[in-house]
Every structure is written in C-alpha cells, then in structure tokens.
C-alpha cells in the first residue's frame, strides 16, 4: 500500500523524463543559456564578496521550467547555477562550493515546484487568484530556504563572514523572491496566451493599442517623477505613485496586463537604481516596496481575470440555456411568485398559438384550466416529494381546441422571491400510441382466444354432437311412431319435448362459444366474480368431463364486484384451466382435480387462483413462463400465458405462479375491487 501511494506521488513527478530525449535536451540547453544570460544581465554588484543581487530573475525562470515541464529537468537546474558560479568571473568560487550551492538552489525550487504542482495542485495557467497567491507564498518561502542555505555554504567555505551572512541572506532572499514573483507569473501567463491566441479585431484593436501606449507612458512618467529628483526621501514618498499605473493596468487587463506591467516597472526600477548608483541598502528597500507593488498588482490582476472568466462563463451558459430553450420541443415558461408569466420559449408560443409579447406579463391561470390554479401549482413545486412530479391534463387553447399535456413544475430563486418553471409537453402523439397499443393488445387477445377455442375444437365438436345425436334419435323415433297405426301420445310428447330441450342445449354451447371468440374491443363493465368464474368453468368443463377431470369451484361469499372485461378475464381463467388440465392428464395421477378459488386478497383486491394436481412447472421453464413463444406443447404457440399476463396487467393486476410443487402448480391473479371488500369480520349495514 505504501508503495502504491508512493508510486502515485512519484510517478507524475518523473513524467518529465519520459519525454523524447532530444526535445528535452534542447529545452534544458536553452534553459541553461537563458539562465546564464539573465544571471549576467541582472547582476549589479557583489555584496560582502558574494554575487548576490537585489533583483534575481533566474530563479523565476527555474521555477517556471519546473512548473511547466516537470521535475525531470533536475540536472539542468543543478547545472545552470554551477556553470554560473564557475563561468561568470565576478567572484571566484571553488567548484565544490559552487556545486553545493547549486544543489541547494535546485532542491529549494524543485521542492517548491513539487509542493505547488502535486500537494497544492495549482493550475499553472493561473486562472484562479488562489493559484497565484499560493505561487507567491510558496516561491517566497523557497527563496528564503535557498538564500539561507546558499549563504551558509558560502560562510562555511569562508567566502562570507558569518557576521555579514544574515544581511547577505536577506538581500538574496529579497532578490530571489522578487525575481520569482515578477518573472514566473509573466512567463506562465505568456505561455497560456501563446497557446490560446486571440487576435483583436476592428476599432477595438486601435483603441486597445492607444490605451496600451497610455499605460506604458504612465509607468514611464511615474518612474520619472519618482527618480527625477534624485533624492532618497522624495523617492520613497513618491514610490507609491507606481501603484496607479499597475492598478490601472491590472483592472483593465487582468493578470496578463498586470504581469507585464510589474515586469516593466521592475526593469525600469532596476535601471533607475543602477543609473543613480544607489547604495545596496536603498536598493534593497526599493525592492521590498517593489515586492508589495508586484504582489498587489498581480493579485488584483488575477481577481479581475477570474471575474472576467466567470462573467464570460455566465454569458456562455445563458446563451446555451437560450439555445436549448429555443430548440426544445417542450414548452417552458417561468412565472414569478404572483403568477405572472416572465418568459416563454418558442414551443410555448406554438402550443398556445400566441406570440411571446402577448403571453409575458399575463397571469398563468389565463392559460391553464382553473382546477390547476396558481396556488396548486406552487404547492406542487414546494413539496419536496412532488418536485419533478408530472401531471397530465387537458389544455384548452384560445381557438377552443383541446390538447392533452403533461405538466412539470419546478422552483428556483431565493426564499421570498421564488420563481417557478412550468414545463409543458404535448402528449397527443403519446396518447394516440397508447390507444393503438391498447387496440393491438385487444386484437392479440382475440387471436389468442380463437386459438384457445381451436385447441378445444375436438372437445367442443363432441359436446355438440351429443345433443345432435339425441335430436336425430328422438326425431327418427317419433317418425317411426307416426307410421304406426295408433301412435302413443305420451311417447310422442316425450320425444318432441326432448328434441326441443336438446336443440336448446346445442344452442347454448354455440352461443357461449360465439361470445367467447367474438372480436370485441376491450369493454369494461362491473361484473361479479362468480359470473367470471362460472363463464370460464362452463367452457372448460366440456373438455374436463370428457377427460375425467374434476373441476371444483369455491367463490368466497359477499365478494365485491370488479371492473373488468368479462371475456378477457374468462379467457385468462380458461387458459389457466386448460393448462392445468393438460398438466393433470400428463402426470397420469389418479387424482385428476382442478380447484378454482376466488377470495379477497386485501381490502382493495380480489385474488382468483387455479390449482392443479399435475407434476408442477419444470424448473427450466419457470423463469421464462410468461415470455411469449415459450411452450411445452407440440402445437402450442406459447402465447397463452404471455397474453394472459398482459390482460391482467391491463386490469392493474398481476398474474403469477404462486406455488409450484410436485403435487401441482397454483397460478393466481388479482383484480382491483370495484367498491369496498366485505371481509367476514365486517358487518354490512343494510
């Protein structure tokens, strides 16, 4: 675990090493050359035998390289100050001391870069003021560490007197800190700019150029005023004038302008100090003031840039929102807490057939039906559980046409100043699709019913043949009697009576069958559970009797009625009964029994179950039982249970296998009660 964590921290630090060797070497070489040049140019004088300077930009370059390219440039970071100490013949430094001090410099700034990048995770584009502040703080701290370490090594080597070491270290600290603070942000911002070039266009370009000139001039004038008197007291008092151009530029141009302004002021300041040949102490004091100007200017610039970005992001997001609302097919409108329409999108204009200017400012209750008055909308939006809840209602348009819509209400704004969003969706197409799906379901159920009846054809034919056979026999018998000399009237009467009775019996079977297979669309009516059960059992009984299967029916007394499509529910029951019958017959069991039971399952539902004494449903079939085209029958389509389930679901019930044992399967479905359920415990008031 420790290794993993270390790997996570170290791996990104080393990433710089994985770059192509040539590009890395070129960058390193370029860095070393620029470092040496900067070091040489910025050097003013030796203080107590050490080549420290009140403005030391090379550390700024070092930190920039480390932040941008990573810690892989460690060797170059060591090499540059080492070469500087050996090649620039200002103060003689022994190689070992040069190496030691170079190592201190490198470790200090590599440490700073590591903290900034990996511990603090700053964004080196400096888009946030926080990142700039962290950069200034950490860099200043690193400069302190490097300065004291560096001076300690020089003192140990005898190059500096211990008595002078603190003064030298402070001078070095100030020089390094201001070097980093002035140069690093300028380089980082320039890099970011360079990567996202935006060319100014039109008259703003010239105006911008003019303003730039004025800003540059203001810096020059300030420096002239400060140093024009060549008197230290005035110089210090007037130094604060430099805040003016820096703040101006920062306010107008953000961090990009501020970083260059600060750099220019620094260069101008150093040039002026060099020109007037000020003492190290005075220079140091100016540099301390310069640090304040730089930090203030840069922070202000960063804040301004951040605000500009936030404002741009806001306008982008508003534009995006506008574009979304303009293209959305759902109508979206907002209202204030008095119910007045504040804004509408084009879909709303289409939906209501009115232009936006006629809608905005009107009370929303003008558009929506009275029952969905404003108060109700608001209470919907306020209740946390109801937020986002949809409601379907009919919308009456100005031309009198009615559109079914779905309404969603949302809320935004501060307490006391709430606003509400109303999203209105035209659901006429969905309604049509639902209606056609219902029609399909009804057709499918019909097809399945015909096939169910077809499956019983043999049993039905036999059942019809019985009364026909009887009728024929009675008829022939009567004819025979009539041919006799003296027909017996009693016998004749019996024969004709039986003919009528048997004809009616055949008629009953035919009409029941006809009703069952009839292609009716779904028609719900309030029916008693007994009627449903009896209807299905009467049809199933025919086959059951022929196969020697007994059907037992138990319907609990006082069951409430149900709102159902009688034929469809009978179809489901008949399906279950026929499946049960096949199961019973396939098992060869001596007990051939089907039990139909209807009872109150809860206060709102009635459960009807069909139990058989067959072998139960095979395990491999159990999970797919209700899927279409799953069947065990050689001639089955496998649609019976699937359609039965969709019929029951259309009745807001559920069809399921509630028990499956070797002693038989039990299927059950429930139907919502139409009216209260009277359980045996409750008494009915007559």
């Amino acid at each position: 675990m420790v290794e993993g964590m270390m790997g996570r921290i170290i791996a990104p630090m080393l990433r710089g090493r994985l770059r192509p060797p040539w590009s890395g070497l070129a960058t390193a070489a370029g860095y070393v050359v620029v470092y040496l040049a900067l070091d040489r140019v910025s050097f003013l004088w030796a203080l107590h035998g050490v080549d420290v300077t009140p403005w030391n930009p090379p550390p700024g370059l070092t930190l920039t390289l480390l932040l941008v390219k990573g810690l892989g440039y460690g060797p170059a970071i060591v090499l540059a100050p080492l070469l500087s100490s050996q090649l620039l013949p200002l103060v003689h430094v022994p190689p070992l001391v040069g190496l030691a001090s170079a190592l201190v410099i490198a470790s200090g700034y590599m440490g700073a870069a590591a903290i900034l990048r990996y511990a603090l995770q700053i964004d080196i584009r400096l888009w946030r003021a926080r990142d700039l502040a962290l950069l200034i703080i950490v860099a200043t701290g690193a400069a302190g560490f490097v300065s004291f370490g560096f001076v300690a090594i020089y003192a140990l080597a005898g190059l500096v007197q211990w008595t002078d070491s603190v003064e030298v270290a402070v001078q070095l600290w100030i020089g390094d800190a201001i070097g980093v603070v002035v140069l690093t942000p300028a380089l980082l911002v320039a890099r970011d700019r360079f990567r996202h070039v935006r060319l100014p266009q039109g008259p703003s370009f010239w105006l911008g150029a003019l303003e730039t000139l004025a800003q540059l001039a203001s810096i020059a004038i300030c420096l002239l005023v400060i140093f024009g008197f060549n008197h230290e007291r005035y110089s210090f008092q007037l130094f604060y004038l430099l805040f003016l151009p820096v703040v101006w530029i920062a306010a107008r141009r953000g961090l990009g302008g501020a970083s260059w302004a600060v750099l220019l002021v620094q260069i101008g300041l150093i040039a002026a100090l060099e020109f007037q040949d000020k003492s190290p102490e005075i220079t140091r004091t100016f540099q301390l003031l310069m640090f304040a100007v730089a930090a203030t200017g840069l922070m202000l610039g960063a804040v301004v840039s951040e605000r500009q970005r936030v404002s741009r992001a806001l306008s982008d997001s508003q534009g995006r929102l506008r574009a979304i609302l303009d293209t959305a097919r759902d109508g979206v409108l907002t209202i204030d807490n008095s119910g007045k329409i504040e804004s509408v999108n084009p879909a709303i204009e289409l939906l209501f057939g009115l232009p936006a200017r006629l809608l905005v400012g009107r009370p929303v209750s003008d558009l929506l039906p009275a029952v969905h008055a404003f108060e109700r909308l608001i209470s919907t939006a306020r209740a946390p559980l109801m937020r986002g809840a949809r409601e379907e209602l009919d919308l009456r348009r100005t031309d009198g046409s009615v559109v079914p819509i779905e309404l969603t209400v949302g809320q935004f704004g501060d307490p006391g100043d709430e606003h509400y969003t109303l999203v209105i969706r035209d659901i006429s197409q969905r309604r049509q699709a639902e209606a056609s799906a219902r029609a399909h379901q009804s057709e499918l159920a019909h097809v399945s019913r015909v096939s169910l009846a077809g499956g019983m054809a043999s049993a039905l034919a036999h059942e019809l043949n019985q009364p026909l056979t009887a009728i024929a026999a009675y008829g022939r018998g009567c004819l025979r009697l009539l041919r006799q000399r003296a027909p017996e009237p009693l016998l004749m009467k019996e024969g004709v009576g039986q003919i009528v009775e048997q004809a009616e019996r055949a008629g009953d079977i035919i009409s029941r069958l006809r009703e069952f297979v009839t292609a009716g669309t779904a028609q719900r009516s309030v029916v008693s559970v007994e009627t449903l059960v009896e209807g299905a059992v009467a049809l199933a009984q025919i086959e059951a009797t022929q196969n020697g299967v007994e059907i037992r029916v138990h319907v609990a007394p006082n069951l409430p009625r149900v709102l159902a499509d009688r034929i469809q529910i009978e179809q489901v029951l008949l399906n279950l009964l026929r499946n049960g019958m096949e199961a019973v017959l396939s098992s060869g069991a001596s007990e051939r029994l089907l039990s139909v039971e209807a009872r109150a399952a809860s206060s709102q539902a009635i459960e009807v179950s069909v139990a058989d004494t067959g072998p139960g449903v095979a395990k491999e079939l159990k999970d797919r039982l209700f899927e279409p085209f799953v069947t065990t029958k050689p001639l089955g389509m496998g649609l019976g249970l699937s359609i039965s389930r969709s019929i029951i679901e259309a009745h807001e019930g559920q069809l399921r296998l509630i028990s499956n044992a070797d002693a038989g399967a039990v299927f059950a479905f429930d139907l919502p009660a139409y009216g209260p359920v009277c359980t045996p415990g409750t008494t009915r008031h007559a």
Binding site: A461, H462, A470, A473, Y474, R476, G477, L491
Partner: protein, 204 residues
C-alpha cells in the same frame, strides 16, 4: 322381431335416453347404462342381445370394454358409435373383435339394421354353440375304437379301407357305424359326416 335385449352404454344422459327411445319405438327391449363398468357389473353372459356403446367415454372407453369382453370370453356383439375424429379408434375396435361401428350423426336405418344383424348373429352363434355342446356330450359316450372309426368316416373313407387300416373285419366296421349313428342321434351317413366335421373344427 328377434329375441334379445339391446344394451346401450353412453355417458351422456341425453344420448342414452334418446337411443332408448329410438330402439324402443323400433320394438326392441332396451337396457341403458351410464358407463362400461356399470354394464359389466349387471350383465350375465347368458343374456341374449347386443351392445350399443359410445366409443368415447371417460374412465373406460368403448375399446377398453371390448378388450374386457374378450378377456372374459363373453361373445356379445358390440356396435360402436363414433363421433368426429374417432374413426381410427373404431377400426382398432373392429380389429379387437367389435361387431360394427356407426358414425354420428346417426342414421336410424343404419343403427337399426346393424342392431338387427347383431341380434341375429347373436342368436345364430348361440344356437350353434348349443348344438355343438349337445354333440360333444353325445360324442363323450363313444368308445375309443368308435371315435377312430368316426374320424375316418369323416374323411370319407369307404368301409373296406377303414377295415384294412384298422385291421378289423368289414362286418365289425359296419357294426361300429350303426352304433355311432345310434349314439350320435344321426339318421344318415351324410348327417354323420357333418357332425364329424363340426367336432373336428371345434378341436383346437
């Protein structure tokens, strides 16, 4: 009108009663049963008549009943009534020894004609059966030598050949023959030959 009862077996009460009505109007004595097992319980094998039964019944089908009759050695002729789709079963029943089958819807002529034939067949078979039984009783009193002579007479051999074969005299053969005629109740030789053939056929 022939003797014998028509036994109707059908699980459907309406059909059962209708068949009874029809057969009754045609002058038959009819007994009805709601199931094959009810029939088997009450029927005595010496009752004359024929069976009319629906081939498709729960518990014990018509075919089951025919097989049961065969197993019990009861020779009552059975007429099957078949509905739609049961003709193959009817053919199986015929192979199992059923007398006839009639398809629904019933034509009364076909049913009544078949019933007539069945009753006639029952009567003939029963008469033949009775005659054979009487002959067997008579043949039981023949001596072994007389039985030998009767067998040879049945093959149409003349007395001379029979005497030579059996190694007895012509006179003795003639004596045996007169005894056989007397014992079997036959009057002529040709009658005796018919009796001998009947008895031979009955042998397994």
């Amino acid at each position: 009108m022939r003797d014998g009862t028509v036994f109707v077996v059908d699980d459907d009460e309406a059909v059962r009663r209708a068949l009874r009505f029809l057969l009754h109007t045609a002058g038959h004595t009819v007994e009805v049963f709601p199931s094959a097992s009810a029939f088997l319980e009450s029927y005595e094998p010496d009752q004359r008549g024929c069976l009319v039964l629906d081939i498709r019944m729960p518990h014990m089908t018509g075919l089951d009943l025919q097989n049961e009759l065969n197993a019990r050695g009861w020779r009552i002729p059975a007429i099957f009534i078949t509905g739609h789709g049961t003709v193959p079963i009817a053919i199986a029943a015929m192979k199992a020894g059923a007398f006839d089958f009639i398809e629904k819807p019933l034509r009364d002529e076909a049913l009544l004609e078949s019933v007539e034939r069945a009753l006639g067949w029952d009567q003939t078979t029963r008469e033949q059966h009775l005659e054979l039984t009487a002959l067997k009783t008579r043949a039981a009193v023949l001596t072994p030598r007389e039985r030998e002579v009767l067998e040879m007479v049945a093959t149409g051999e003349p007395n001379k050949i029979i005497a030579r074969r059996l190694g007895i005299s012509f006179r003795t053969v003639e004596l045996h023959r007169s005894h056989i005629l007397e014992k079997m109740g036959a009057h002529t030789i040709s009658e005796l030959i018919r009796i001998a053939i009947l008895l031979q056929q009955d042998k397994p």
